[in-house]
Symmetry: C2
Subunit: 581 residues, 2 copies
C-alpha cells in the first residue's frame, strides 16, 4: 500500500499507466482521507467535472487487505458532476481488499480520452493492462460481470459502470462486485460513475491472485486488537443484533414510528403502508422464498456485522441483493409505493444501469410531484427507471437527478442540498440530520454525520430529534468522527459500537497502530477528521460554495411535517457554527 497507480487516459497514443511511490504529502491517509487529499491538491476547483482536469481517485482503506474486520470499504473521489463540489462516495464489496493486497493506496484516472473508445483495465500482481474494448459499450453491470467472469473467473473483483456512467449522468454510480461476484455494492452518490464514464473506463478488474494478506507490524498485538474490536461489534445491539437480523431495512419501522419517514416526496412523516416494505416483512419474504440462502452475510471478506442479504423473486430465483433501507425508502415511502417486489426490481435496475438508488428514487418522486407519473404507481416507477437506462430524453432528465428534474419540470418542492437529494430521514423529524444535510461538504448525505443515531436510536447519547437544541454540536462531532472513520476505510457501521463503547474505539485505534507501527491517540483521530473536512471545505470554497449553500430548501422551514407538525428549526447562524472548532 505504498504505491499510487496513475493512468493518464488522454496520453498520446492511448492511455498510459505509471506506478509511483505514495508521495509524502499523502502518507498515512487512506479511503476518503486520501481521495479528498488528492482531489483537493490536484484538481482545479473550477474545472468542469467531466473535463480533462478532473480526476477519479479510487482508494481502499488504511487496513484494506489486512485481516482487520470491517476493513473493506472502497472510496471513490472526484469533483462531483452532481454538486459541483468535492465528492467521496464509498462502497463495500471485494475490490478494496484486493487493491490493498496489490499494494495500491490509490488508483487515479486522469485526463480525457482523445476519442470515445471504451477501455477496460486489468490490475494483477505486478501487472497493469489497459485495453480498448468497445464490445462493453452499453452493457449493464451484471452483463459486464458475466463477460469478465468468462475471461477471468469469479475470484477477481470488478469496479465498473453501467450505461448511466457511460452517458455521464449525474446520478451514475460506480459498482463493486460482492462476495458472490455480483455488482451490488455501489459508490452511489454524487455522480462518481459519470466521472469514470468521462474517463472512458468501463471496468477495472482487480485480481489479487498470488498476493497474501497484508502483514501487520506487530502481529500479536494486532490480533488481540482485532479480537477486541470484533467482540465490541458483536455485543452492541445495533451491530450485533439489529443489522444482522434484518439488514439496514430494520430502520423502516423505527423511522416511521418516529414520524421522520419522508413520504410522498417529503410531504408527510409517516407512510401508512410501511409495514408492507419494512425490514421485518422483507426478511420474512426472503426467508420464505430463499430458504437457507437468505441468511444475512457480509458484502466483503472480513465483515462481522453481516447486514447484507439476498432477494429472491416469487419463483425463488435471484433478483437482487437485499435492498438497503435507503433504497426501500427512496422507491417505497417516498414514491408512496408499498410493493416490495417492485422495489427490489428497481434496486436491480439501478444496480444494473449503475445508478444511485437514493438519487434515483428521490428523482422519481419529484417527477411524480411534477405529474409525470402518479404517486404509488410501482409499474410507472419501473418504466421511468428503464427510460434512464435507455437514455431517452426523459431518461436523461431523470438520470441527472432530482435537482435537474425539478428544474426541468419547474417543481418547487425538491429535497436537495447542493444539488444532491436527501436520503431517508426527514430533517424536520430528525433535526440533527438536517444540520448534516445542510452543512456537509458532500451535499445532502446521511452518512456524513449520522445524527439519526443519537436523535432516534439513542446511540452516543440522546438529543431530542424535534428540537433545534444540541443539533449543531451533535452534527459537528459526528461529521468529524465520520471523516476520520471514512479515512480509515472501515465500514461506517462500526460507529454505533465505537460511539457507545470506549474500549471498542480504543481497539480500533490499536488496530491501526499495531498494523502500521504508529502511536495515534484519540486526539489524533479527531485531528484527522478535522483535517479531511477542512481540505474538503477549502476545495468547495474555491469552487464557489458559500454559507448560503449550507441551507435546506425553503419548504422545510415552511411546511409542517405531520404527524409532529414541525418545521426545521435550526437557525442559519447556528448552521454557520458547525465548522467552528
Amino acid at each position: 500500500m505504498d504505491k499510487i497507480l496513475r493512468i493518464q487516459m488522454g496520453a498520446e497514443g492511448g492511455p498510459k499507466a505509471k506506478v509511483e511511490p505514495l508521495p509524502a504529502a499523502y502518507a498515512g491517509l487512506g479511503g476518503r482521507g486520501l481521495t479528498s487529499a488528492i482531489v483537493a491538491h490536484e484538481v482545479p476547483p473550477s474545472c468542469h467535472p467531466l473535463g480533462e482536469d478532473n480526476k477519479l481517485v479510487i482508494a481502499p482503506g488504511l487496513l484494506s487487505g489486512s485481516a482487520a474486520a470491517m476493513s473493506g470499504r472502497l472510496s471513490v473521489g472526484c469533483k462531483s458532476p452532481l454538486t459541483g463540489g468535492i465528492k467521496e462516495a464509498n462502497a463495500g464489496g471485494m475490490p478494496a481488499q484486493m487493491l490493498g493486497r496489490l499494494g495500491f493506496a490509490a488508483v487515479v484516472l486522469e485526463g480525457k480520452p482523445r476519442d470515445d473508445t471504451l477501455y477496460r483495465i486489468y490490475l494483477g500482481k505486478d501487472k497493469v493492462e489497459i485495453r480498448p474494448d468497445n464490445r462493453l459499450r452499453g452493457l449493464g453491470n451484471y452483463a459486464v460481470a458475466e463477460t469478465m467472469k468468462a475471461e477471468y473467473g469469479d475470484k477477481v473483483s470488478l469496479i465498473s459502470i453501467g450505461p448511466a456512467g457511460e452517458m455521464k449522468m449525474a446520478a451514475a454510480s460506480v459498482a463493486c462486485t460482492d462476495m458472490e461476484f455480483r455488482p451490488t455494492r455501489h459508490a452511489g452518490r454524487g455522480g462518481v460513475g459519470a466521472v469514470m464514464g468521462s474517463k472512458g473506463v468501463k471496468v477495472i478488474v482487480v485480481d489479487d491472485t498470488g498476493c497474501g494478506v497484508r502483514r501487520p507490524q506487530d502481529p500479536e498485538a494486532f490480533k488481540e486488537a482485532n479480537k477486541k474490536f470484533v467482540e465490541g461489534l458483536r455485543k452492541h445491539a445495533v451491530t450485533g443484533q439489529g443489522l444482522p437480523a434484518y439488514g439496514t431495512n430494520v430502520l423502516t419501522n423505527v423511522i416511521n414510528e418516529a414520524g421522520a419517514y419522508p413520504t410522498k416526496n417529503f410531504m408527510w412523516g409517516r407512510f401508512a403502508n410501511c409495514n408492507k416494505i419494512s425490514g421485518e416483512t422483507q426478511a420474512e419474504t426472503e426467508n420464505a422464498r430463499g430458504g437457507e440462502g437468505s441468511a444475512t452475510h457480509g458484502c466483503h471478506r472480513g465483515c462481522v456485522i453481516r447486514c447484507s442479504g439476498t432477494y429472491y423473486d416469487k419463483d425463488g430465483a435471484y433478483l437482487t441483493k437485499q435492498p438497503e433501507y435507503e433504497t426501500v425508502w427512496a422507491f417505497g415511502g417516498n414514491c408512496a409505493i408499498d410493493d416490495l417486489d417492485a422495489i427490489a426490481t428497481l434496486d436491480r435496475l439501478c444496480d444494473d444501469f449503475g445508478l444511485d438508488t437514493i438519487e434515483t428514487g428521490a428523482t422519481v418522486a419529484v417527477a411524480m410531484e411534477a405529474g409525470v407519473a402518479a404517486f404509488g404507481d410501482a409499474q410507472a416507477a419501473i418504466r421511468l427507471v428503464k427510460e434512464i437506462g435507455a437514455g431517452t430524453p426523459l431518461g436523461r432528465i431523470l438520470g441527472n437527478g432530482a435537482a435537474v428534474t425539478g428544474r426541468v419540470y419547474g417543481v418547487e418542492r425538491v429535497p436537495v442540498v447542493k444539488g444532491q437529494a436527501m436520503p431517508a430521514y426527514d430533517p424536520r423529524g430528525v433535526q440533527g440530520i438536517g444540520v448534516t444535510y445542510a452543512t456537509s461538504t458532500m451535499g445532502a448525505d446521511h452518512t456524513a454525520g449520522y445524527a439519526v443515531a443519537t436523535n432516534i436510536l439513542g446511540v452516543g447519547g440522546n438529543v431530542n430529534p424535534l428540537q433545534p437544541e444540541g443539533q449543531v454540536d451533535l452534527s459537528r462531532n459526528l461529521q468529524i468522527a465520520t471523516a476520520a472513520i471514512d479515512a480509515t476505510g472501515m465500514c461506517l457501521f462500526i460507529a454505533f459500537a465505537i460511539m457507545d463503547q470506549p474500549e471498542t474505539f480504543q481497539a480500533l485505534v490499536n488496530l491501526i497502530n499495531t498494523f502500521h507501527g504508529l502511536k495515534l491517540t484519540a486526539d489524533d483521530v479527531t485531528a484527522l477528521g478535522k483535517k479531511v473536512l477542512s481540505l474538503e471545505r477549502e476545495f468547495n470554497r474555491k469552487a464557489g460554495f458559500t454559507q448560503a449553500m449550507d441551507r435546506l430548501p425553503d419548504f422545510f422551514r415552511k411546511e409542517k411535517l405531520p404527524p409532529h407538525n414541525v418545521v426545521f428549526q435550526v437557525k442559519d447562524e447556528e448552521l454557520d457554527r458547525v465548522f467552528n472548532w
Copy 2:
C-alpha cells in the same frame, strides 16, 4: 407614475390588487433601478424562483409615457430561475409608454396562486381587473394577441407569456406587443416568463385610453432638451445610419470580420457563410419581398432610431419581425445554419412560444454538440424548438436553457456564465465583453456592459479587443453607465451617441431634470448606476454567489479561437477588480 400596483396572486378567495403610493425608498427610480430595488428589498435571496416569495416586478422608465424620445423600454425583474440571482430583462414595444400614462411606476405580481387557474389582468384608467381565463392555456403569444384584440381592439398593448412561461421553463420570456400589436418585443433573458407563469398570469392588457401624455415640470426646457437629444441620436453614425439602415443585424459582417463571431457553439470566430445571413442580405431579402412595408421603424412610440423591420416569407406574407442580430447569430452561425428563412421561422416560433432567442439558439447549439442534431441542419433546429413548445421531455430539457441541456447530455463545452448563455460575441475575440459576461450581476449578458462598442466599433474610445489591457476599466465604466441608462428606462442604443457626444449626454440629463424638476449632474448618474449594481451584487451575494462565479467556462482559457488563435486572457484577479470603485 407615483403609484405601485401590487397583485397578491395567492390571496384567499383569489388574487387581490392593491394600489399604493410609491414608497419613499423607491422614489426617483425607474426601469431596472426600480425592479432591482424592489427585488433586492422585498425578495428573500434564498427563495425558490418559482415560489411564493419571489416577485415579478414590471416597471416602465422614468420618462415612459412622456414625449421624450426612446423612453419606452419596459423592465421586468425578479429572482431568476435561470441564474438563481437577481434579474432584470427589458423590452421595447408599447406597454411601457401606456403603463407610464396610467401612472404606474411598477406592477408587482406577488405570492403564488392556490391552484393552477390561469389569470388575465386588465389595467385601464382607474380600473384593475383580474379574471380567471383558462381558455388561454397553452396559447402562443400570437394567439393571445388575436384573442385580446377581438375583445379590446388593437389600441391597447399586451404583456404576455407563451407555453414556455406556463411550463415555467428557464428560457421563457415575457412578450410585449409592438406598434402593430404583434408580440415581438421580449424581455428575454433569465426566465422572467417562467416567473410570470409561476404567478399564474397569462396576459396583462394595458389600456391607456383616456390618459394623456405625461407632462413635464418645465415643458419648454423639456422640449428643447428632447430636440437636442434627438439631434444627437440622428447625427451619430450608429444610431443615425447603421441601425436604421439594417437593424441590429448590421453587426453580422462586422463581428465576423473581427473574428469574434461565435460559430458552431463557440468553436470558431468566423462563419464561412455569414454573408447569407448578414443584415445586408436580410435587408435586401425583406425589401425584395415586402416592398414599402419593409422600411425600418421603431418598436415603440417615440423611437427615432427605428432599428426594427418586418420579415416576409417567400410568398410575401408576414412571418416575423426583422430578427435581431443576436437571434440571427444564435440560430445562424452558432448552429452553423445559413438559411435566413429558417432563422426567421425560428424567431417566430420563439416569439410565439415565449422563448429567449439567445438562450434557445445557444441551447440548440449545445444539443448539436451533444449529437442530438447535426450542426447546420436548419430543419432539425426547427423541430427541436417545436419540441419546446410541445413540452415533450426533450423540449423540457431545451426550454430550460444551455446549462441544463449541457448538464443533461454531459457536454463539457457549454458557453454560460451563472447559468445564462453567452450572446453573439466571442469573449476571446472581444475580451472586454468577456469581462462583462464574467462579472455582470445578470449572468452572460452583452447588454450589461457592451464593450463591443469600444473594442470593435470605436465608440467611446478604442481598446484592443484581443488584449487583456484596459478591459476591466472599460467593462466597469460601461456596466455603471448601463445600469444608469437601464434605470431611466431609455433604449440602450442611446449609449452610442451619449458615449461619443457630451452634448447628447447632457441632453439626456436635461430631459430627466426638466421632466421631474430635478438638478441631477453627471456624477449623480454615475452614482445611480453604482447604486443599482451594488443592490444587485448584494442580492446575489446573499443568494450564494461568489467571485468563483464571476468566471468564464474553462474552455475559453484553453481553446484558441481561430482566426486570431487567442484565448481569454483577462486574469481572475483582474476580474475581481471590476466592482472596485
